[in-house]
Amino acid sequence: MAADPERFIQYNKNIVQKIFRKKVEYHLDQARLPIEEKVKILIELQKIALTIRPKQNENDKRLVWQI
């Protein structure tokens, strides 16, 4: 029996909507974290940023927070 294309589209649409809803919730959860927790994440982001784009010269003063 051939699949119902309308049902197939609706099924995929529901999945995509669910993914986007979860994504929004994730960002909101991150935004609602206590500042102290956000700083811990920030330090990890700083490490990642320096790994992706290492310092090119002495004028680059980017420094991972030492706290």
Partner: protein, 170 residues
């Protein structure tokens, strides 16, 4: 960061500046999800002076005397690169004077309110400002009457409307 804030408050108590507020990316961190940034921007109101020239030398000397050596335009205080930025226009001055009282750990501090940060982003309006603006609109509670009054005062209401149209189609 708590020790850094405590040192900044000590500097204020020593009379190096009359008021301060955390601005930039770290102020944003108080309201939206974490985004990579390296500097702790501290907007300061310097004491009244007879000279028209602004000098940060007393601040650099004060911290240097306490073992925090300035490097270019920043001072590493307790492991964090801090930039002291004298208020450079009326909007930033208003933001510092009307800053939100927050706590980091057990230490009280002052942070620019989201409404001022939004207006500042509209004023500078770089691509990173636009990206951060959309996060503010989605992730934090905004006092819209306050935002409206600031936008009106600084003639940025139209820029805000244009931004919303471009990003949200309304």
């Amino acid at each position: 960061m708590e020790k850094t804030i405590q040192m900044i408050v000590q500097a204020q108590n020593a009379g190096l500046f009359s008021s301060y507020a955390i601005g930039g990316g770290i102020a944003a961190l108080f309201y939206i999800e974490p985004v990579a940034t390296f500097d702790l921007d501290i907007f300061i109101i310097l004491p009244e002076s007879s000279s028209p020239l602004i000098s940060l030398s007393p601040i650099y000397s004060w911290f240097s005397d306490r073992g925090y050596k300035p490097s270019q335009e920043q001072i590493v205080i307790e492991g964090i690169a801090v930039q002291f930025i004298p208020v450079y226009n009326d909007l930033v001055r208003d933001g510092v004077l009307d800053a939100a009282e927050k706590k980091y750990g057990n230490t009280p501090t002052r942070v620019l309110k989201p409404e001022y940060l939004i207006t500042l982003m509209l004023q500078t309006y770089r691509s990173k400002d636009k990206e951060r603006l959309s996060k503010f609109l989605q992730e934090t509670t905004i006092d819209y009457p306050l935002l409206d009054s600031i936008l009106l005062k600084y003639n940025l209401k139209k820029v805000f409307e244009t931004f919303k149209e471009q990003y949200y189609g309304r």
